[in-house]
Amino acid sequence: MTQTVTDRNTQSDSMMADYAIVADWRDFIALTKPGVLRLVVFTGLAGLLAAPGSINPIIGFTAILCITLAAAGAATLNQWYEADIDGIMKRTSKRPLPSGRMDRTSALHFGIGLSALSVFLMGVAVNWLAAGILAFSIFFYAVIYTMWLKPNTPHNIVIGGAAGAFPPVIGWAAVTGDVTALPIILFAIIFIWTPPHFWALALFVEADYSKAGIPMLPVTHGKAETRKQMLGYSVLLLLVTILPWPLGLTGALYGLFATGLSAFFLVLAVQVFRAKQDDAKKMRYEKKLFAYSIIYLFVIFGVLVADRILLGGA
């Protein structure tokens, strides 16, 4: 598989070299996956605000800026490496690299530059624990997930989900200089949320993944097995999300919201499990779960911050 990807990279390089011209700055923005960045920045900010103690506003701003730059750098490196696969998939074929609006070397330099700057700035301005976790999260996403897990195993998104789960831990570490129980639970929430979120998407773009040769679970084990796994992870998500409440790390506000929102997540997962719909155009339950899962994470982290800060939930 790796060999095939390398061959395709070489082919796409030579194809793009013919007609790519100076890339527009908007293409550089597109490389950073702004949609994904919003969630990363928000969860990082939530970790920072939920942490005990205070942080100077300038240092806090710098920490969030570093998380943003690191996520942007990792996303750029992901697009640099997957330019060939993106060209095959309908959903991603309009991105700057597969569409030939930018050359791959510029994207590589941009990605490495952003990543290096973010880690250096975090280390110098905030603390080196946060910088270390930040560097590991970039490495995990760009190398472990993108280059190794994604093209090789249907468990790609299960293990790879860890990459997106680091921001609240980094935000927390930026304030306190250590990592305790609550940031680990916040990590676990995003880690367990990722498979049902991503598999909901994979179910209705399964044909794309299949064409690109990416071994996503619906491609390798079928849609029925994927729906079953999504249900299992949704049950686990309910338990982990509520956990901070009985442990006394948050108050009742968070506990009640987490229970209600996670229960609804589970209801949608049950609907997906029972749907057994194979036509990608008609997968309304899967699309509904995918959309809800994004709102879910925003609200859970928002309520967590409100509980910890405004109401002194801890």
Partner: protein, 84 residues
């Protein structure tokens, strides 16, 4: 099958575009990293487009570096204990 046809089509369009460019009188020789094979010339319209994109990127880079300088200055102020 459809993807192959699309690829072949875009490839043909690219080759056609290059053939047209080569037939034009060279106005400006701009070689852009790996994005363009060296030694190919741009017509007036393309030169203007390239320069516009370069100018926009240079301006943004300048703004970004300026903001970074301000940020470093403010971080220094905080670190030496003059604020907070």
């Amino acid at each position: 099958m459809e993807q192959k046809a699309q690829n072949a089509n875009s490839r043909a369009q690219a080759v056609e575009g290059l053939a047209k460019r080569e037939s034009l009188t060279p106005e400006l020789d701009v070689s852009v990293g790996e994005g363009r094979a060296t030694g190919q010339h741009l017509n007036k319209e393309e030169s203007a487009k390239v320069l516009k994109a370069q100018r926009a990127r240079a301006n943004l880079m300048a703004i970004g570096l300026f903001c970074l300088c301000i940020l470093f200055f403010m971080i220094t102020i905080v670190k030496i204990g003059l604020w907070g």
